[in-house]
Subunit: 492 residues, 2 copies
């Protein structure tokens, strides 16, 4: 019952949802709720407190937090009173809440929609209205402990969702130091950083071209950057590579970043999640407010894991060649985060160090949705019992009696329906009940004796179903018998 962005006309009125938005309905929504529940249960395990903030914030609260992405913000019209914008992420509202309430220590989570006037790509799960699902740890603590716990949360979440992921990480201070050592002028650092960040999508020659031709970096500086950011290996090799470079290690930022990462790795090992992380010097991330560790979660590329069964949807390829429609959708990063120690302080309060992760629910949904389509049996059964009645020529429909039985079942928490016709036809009722496991069948004679018929509808053909008249039981035993049969059906 998915309702994708759709259109229909009548004279004058365009019948659609706004650009980049969609309706969610039925099983789609239940799958999304399942993702929410899975994730929030893990947040709760880690002592997370839920937070819900308004969908719009004062415009000045959001100002100067998002760099050049700010142009994608939705503003509310000035109708008198305060100027507001729709929230752009959940991190800035969280920082506003921390500052406003003088919170000094908290683990909070929030699952809410955010809004960006970006170019939508619905098939890849990129919309203008989309869910984020954030977990953040705020407060003074010893270095890298909270950062390691966030990564552990990431691993637990994707284990629970059965998605095989890799956490790519880097450190803003290492990146800053590395650019400085390579000879990037201060005023070009953000522009060069953004070119480096594209290295997961474009080859080095193109990134270098952008740096040199578009951004005016001397070629030898670009080559020095290339020597660093193209380096790859496991974490201890990467740390050795950095530590062995005396020029780099003479830079205070690089030194501090390397110390942080060495400590982080020891904690990740203690939590048994070190095998899920990968140190990537080319990871830069766009947002202004990150100040330390940064990370991005991708589906583990199959070439890392060796040959992959193309039907194993847990490990899609992220290589850049176009893939056909039947394969795993390419969704890019499915979660991202980092440390932002200065954001709360921007509101004029005491700075509170924070680190957090944001899960891209719509992209995760897109991945799980493909898997679901392969297992139609996983669809939920929406109604347990259909209450029906039939009789001879003078049959009056027994509507009040069907209502009364339905109420009995509803009161017991059983999902029940009946035909909204005074005198329903037998075939109509069986048709309406085709996906329902049980039927209660009323007849005048049985009711007079305080009895009803209960029958499992099973998967036989319609004619067979209609012939079997079911089990005759007393009304007072109905709820108990229904529960027994439902349990048996679930276990079968």
């Amino acid at each position: 019952m998915a309702t994708k962005e759709g259109k229909a006309f009548k004279p004058g009125v365009l019948l659609k949802t706004p650009k980049g938005t969609r309706d969610w309905v039925g099983a789609d929504l239940l799958l999304r709720d399942h993702i929410f529940n899975t994730i929030s249960n893990i947040f709760k395990r880690h002592g997370g407190t839920p937070l819900d903030t308004p969908v719009f914030e004062l415009k000045e609260i959001l100002a100067e937090k998002y760099g050049e992405d700010s142009r994608l913000m939705y503003d509310l019209q000035d109708q008198g009173g305060e100027l507001c914008s729709l929230r752009f992420d959940l991190t800035v509202p969280f920082a506003r809440w921390v500052a406003m309430n003088n919170v000094t220590q908290v683990k909070r989570y929030q699952i809410s929609k955010v809004y960006r006037r970006d170019q939508p790509a619905i098939a890849r799960g990129r919309l203008r209205e989309f869910y984020q699902c954030d977990f953040d740890i705020a407060g003074q603590c010893d270095p890298m402990i909270a950062d390691a716990e966030i990564m552990c949360v990431v691993v637990e979440v994707f284990e629970a969702l059965q998605l095989d992921i890799t956490i790519k990480f880097n450190h803003r201070r290492i990146l800053d130091g590395l650019f400085a050592v390579a000879g990037v002028p201060d005023d070009k650092i953000r522009a060069i950083s953004s070119a480096v960040d594209k290295l997961d999508k474009i080859p080095w020659v193109e990134a270098k071209k952008e740096m040199v031709e578009d951004k005016g970096l001397p070629e030898e500086v670009a080559d020095r950057i290339g020597g660093y950011v193209q380096h790859s290996g496991n974490i201890s090799e990467m740390l050795e590579f950095l530590k062995s470079d005396e020029k780099l290690m003479a830079n205070e930022n690089v030194k501090a970043g390397v110390a942080d990462i060495s400590l982080l790795v020891s904690y990740l090992e203690a939590m048994d999640v070190a095998n899920k992380v990968s140190f990537d010097l080319s990871l830069a991330r766009g947002l202004d407010y990150y100040s330390g560790l940064i990370f991005e979660i991708i589906m583990t590329p199959p070439n890392i894991k060796g040959p992959t069964n193309p039907n194993d949807l847990g490990a899609p390829s992220l290589e850049s060649k176009p893939r056909n429609a039947s394969s795993q959708p390419q969704v890019g990063s499915i979660a991202a985060g980092g440390r932002y120690d200065n954001l709360v302080g921007m509101y004029g309060k005491r700075p509170i160090p924070c680190v957090g992760i944001s899960f891209g629910i719509d992209r995760i949904y897109t991945l799980l949705d493909v898997r679901r389509e392969k297992k139609p049996s996983a669809l939920t059964q929406e109604i347990d019992v259909y209450v029906m009645a039939f009789g001879g020529k003078d049959f009056g429909g027994l509507l009040p009696e069907r209502m009364s039985i339905a109420r009995l079942l509803w009161n017991a928490g059983i999902r029940a329906e009946f035909s909204a016709k005074v005198i329903p036809k037998l075939t109509q009722q069986f048709k309406a009940a085709k996906d329902v496991p049980l039927a209660v069948i009323l007849g005048e004679d049985e009711l007079a004796a305080g009895q009803v018929r209960l029958k499992a509808l099973g998967s036989g053909d319609d004619e067979a179903k209609q012939k079997d008249r079911g089990l005759l039981i007393y009304k007072k035993d109905l709820v108990e018998e229904v529960k027994k049969l439902l349990t048996a059906i679930v276990q079968a």
Copy 2:
């Protein structure tokens, strides 16, 4: 941890949420989620399918649906592209979805925030951003069956929430007919209807004054209206009263409305909910789109129930005299709805008859919140196990070991925390664990033997807690032992 609309200044930046909005956090949010779950489980019992629509809709979709309330709509700024407004209710987006997807039959529910630029009154649960929780039945069916099921849903919801309510109902066609028979000119019907609708808040003399002096109705017409709408009694008395008035019954609208209500009552009796409803000729409801049965749910006034214990928060007074702050908050109607058979057709599609109910979650929350404050024990326990360590002079903190134990517990779905200090103090750890039922205590000697200590923290004083060193168990048995103890604690 409630965060009410709050303010704090720094030079230039006002640190607050926008007017009429608030943050929700911690136990407040968990109570709200509990209300959502309770209600949506009942919707599911009735075969409800969830729907989620975008927070904004095209402006022209919302146009001409809300009468004079339209001025309260939030518009998005024109940033190029489509003109949009924040949704004002969930009914119009539902009708848009039905029309856009050519749905002919559905029971759908939606729990989402809606937006109205009204004067906020936070203590009474009236905000500019607030939740609605809607259940609607769309599609052709025999008369009043769906209407009766909606009322049954209402009764089940408030039974589950343990709130003692009354469903006041009326019929738009009876009201229209009654105004026509009384002599109200067609062009004054909406204005007079709105004056009548105030009769739950103001006495008849004031309403009459508004009709005659402000709205120019001849006094004798107003008096005739008064003769009708002030009439009260139980449902069968009310039906008798209407049926005995030949002039009224000569009006086609009144006749059709009376027939509908007679049928409705027989269905409500079959579903055993007739004792919760009350026929109120003065109920009119503001929204344009209602076309048949209308209803509004209020807390049952104590005078209907006889003497009420003032501590029984299930039955607050709704009388108009001001009440002191310590008593039940006055929230007005806590749910409302009705039949709207023409709304879907306004989008140029085949008209689909609909009837639905909208629950005012923030008002229901306000009622339940007062009750919760009386039962602090009902607060949720947020963490199950605190992992701590202590040792002698050379104690290194055992941080990786605490992390490893925490990961073991998290993996088993157990909520666990540990101090984010490399070398935490014993007293700090006990303080942090003060609301936590269990502690796992690590020591170097025990760990060397593959063992840890597990202890119930109970409610003793800090000193006693610190002396008892707990049960010595093997690490491999930890999860099982923790689960056993937690079960025992929950059952105690």
